[in-house]
């Protein structure tokens, strides 16, 4: 799987995935769900799973598969929707999200058979582990890539920069980090909580950096990923993707109130209506 899917095909997948996110989050009921963080990353996830990555849901342990690590693990709904729509997880599992004894926990839990390489949810660790995985590929002389989704708030963590420096030192040109810069973290706007120049920081750490004006625009994210995948810079790659938290649902877009929340019936119906009219 991977390549050959048209932009139109992936665009349709994005629509389905957004619906999955809303449905699963609503099913979680009083247990709530991280809607905003999942919705900002839909185009990134769909690009990886339906075009960029070399992988096979029928053969999840294929040695030369590209690896994906969702370091901002609280956005698991965008990950689960990609795994469901690409066939790693049966569609009927959707209703088990966050339910007792389900495999679909509120943060991804390592489960190779279902396409989950790394447990995440404690911010910062996934990215540093991804660096180790990229190094392992080099040691084993394997040609696959490692893709890692990082949050912009997550970049507050020291471990991110420790790992970024180590990634550059080890010339991990088989590693692509995508920073989902949606501008909002848990308690407020990223610019209010820790206003930093992320582009300058990633560059200073020794990474090849590409800034995406609109990380929710499918053709541009596809183009950026393709470019980084084929780059000969010899450095690890970072795509700083400017996105919108809660993208696609008017009352969630850019809102700090939809970082994590319980969705009521009225909100659910409005969200579905908006998705259907698009």
């Amino acid at each position: 799987m991977g390549n050959n899917n048209t932009v139109e095909f992936i665009q349709e997948k994005c629509a389905v995935m957004r619906r999955d996110v809303i449905e699963m989050g609503y099913i979680a009921g009083g247990r709530g769900a991280h809607f905003g963080p999942a919705l900002s990353s839909i185009e990134i996830m769909a690009s990886l799973f339906f075009n960029i990555m070399n992988h096979d849901p029928k053969n999840p342990t294929m040695p030369d598969r590209d690896r994906f690590v969702q370091s901002k693990g609280h956005a698991c709904l965008s990950y689960y929707s990609a795994l469901i729509e690409s066939g790693y997880i049966a569609k009927d599992q959707k209703s088990t999200f966050k339910q007792d004894e389900s495999i679909l926990s509120g943060h991804p839990s390592r489960n190779i058979e279902h396409g989950i390489e790394i447990s995440s949810g404690s911010l910062g660790n996934g990215f540093a582990v991804a660096c180790g995985m990229a190094k392992a590929a080099k040691i084993k002389k394997e040609n696959h890539k490692v893709y890692c989704l990082v949050g912009d708030g997550e970049c507050n963590e020291g471990i991110i920069w420790e790992a970024a420096m180590n990634g550059a030192k080890n010339k991990l040109d088989n590693l692509v980090a995508i920073v989902d810069r949606n501008g909002v973290q848990l308690a407020g706007k990223t610019s209010d909580i820790m206003d930093v120049d992320l582009v300058a920081l990633w560059k200073a750490a020794g990474w090849e950096v590409l800034v995406l004006e609109d990380g929710n625009d499918l053709p541009s994210i596809l183009e950026a990923l393709e470019k980084m995948k084929n780059s000969k810079s010899g450095k690890p790659h970072a795509i700083i993707a400017n996105t919108t938290k809660g993208k696609g649902i008017s009352f969630m877009e850019g809102s700090i109130n939809w970082h994590a929340r319980v969705m009521n019936k009225e909100q659910y119906e409005q969200a579905i209506l908006e998705l259907e009219s698009n």
């Binding site: 979680a28 247990r31 693990g73 966050k98 339910q99 007792d100 004894e101 389900s102 495999i103 926990s105 509120g106 943060h107 839990s109 447990s119 995440s120 949810g121 404690s122 911010l123 910062g124 708030g153 997550e154 507050n156 963590e157 020291g158 973290q185 848990l186 308690a187 407020g188 909580i193 820790m194």
Partner: protein, 321 residues
Amino acid sequence: MSNAPIDKLKEWSKQGHRNVLGDSLVMLAAERPEMCTVTADLTPTARLTGFRDTYPDRFFDVGIAEQNMIDFTAGLAVEGVLPYAVGLAAIVPMRPAEQMRVTLGYMNLNAKVVCIEAGVRFGPLGNTHYAMDDIAVVRAIPNFTVISPSDPLQIYKTIFAIADHDGPVYVRLTGGPGFPVMYPEDFDFQIGKAIEYKEGSDVAFISTGSMLGAAVEAANTLEGKGISTRVVDMHTIKPIDTDMLDKVFAENKLVVTVEEHTPIGGLGAAVAEYKTGFENTPKQVMASLGDKFQKLGDYAFLLKENGLTAAGLANLAEANF
């Protein structure tokens, strides 16, 4: 300390420990101008919005950077500010454990670390969000006091009491929305002094945190079967109240420690460590989360799975008595 806010207990019990914390910090700040709050991007989660808006000059968000939060807190404490660092129990004592050891513990700094959602209350969020080992981590650091209050009023009293206690303190908060009011009226709370909640001479439940409710209920069940049962509220796990333990070891036939924590290094371990120095002490069994990562499930499911319900505790005691 201001008068106990008895009128708030019902509401606090309904809201859960986070609101008790947020409200108590605002009340404390009114009395202690040197006090401040530090957090790592958790303002709404830890109910600190009120504090931030009331005392913006005494509120610091370091971003999602728990190690930095602890060392920043240490720097404030060194200079005589009274900092309360507030974080998630699943993340904070573990990730900055070394900072807690070498800055707060080693220098015996007057800083407070208060963590929300200890134990498995975060249920559906999964194992990254369960704090099952935080007591073990902090208890192993010299100079640290470790407290796990049992109900809304005790949380309030703890937040005030630690301000008057010179030295590093870790407070682990358990009990989600709907946790019971165990102390409906003002009571005497002293760090390091356990509370004998109920007398009894056969079994002794020694519990910490919001497990007290289940322990009392289990004790009542055992009483109904003719087993006289004592319940001790061991809110301070370090230093542990050895006077109370001496009394229990002398008078009870079975000790059941009850905690939302691994059996390794927590309350049960602290009791066993003390007990091992004496001959002829009663048998001890530990009700705990076990030495394992948990299945996914909501709070009630996980408590039941681990026997941390009134029925589970009564069964455990009966089977070992």
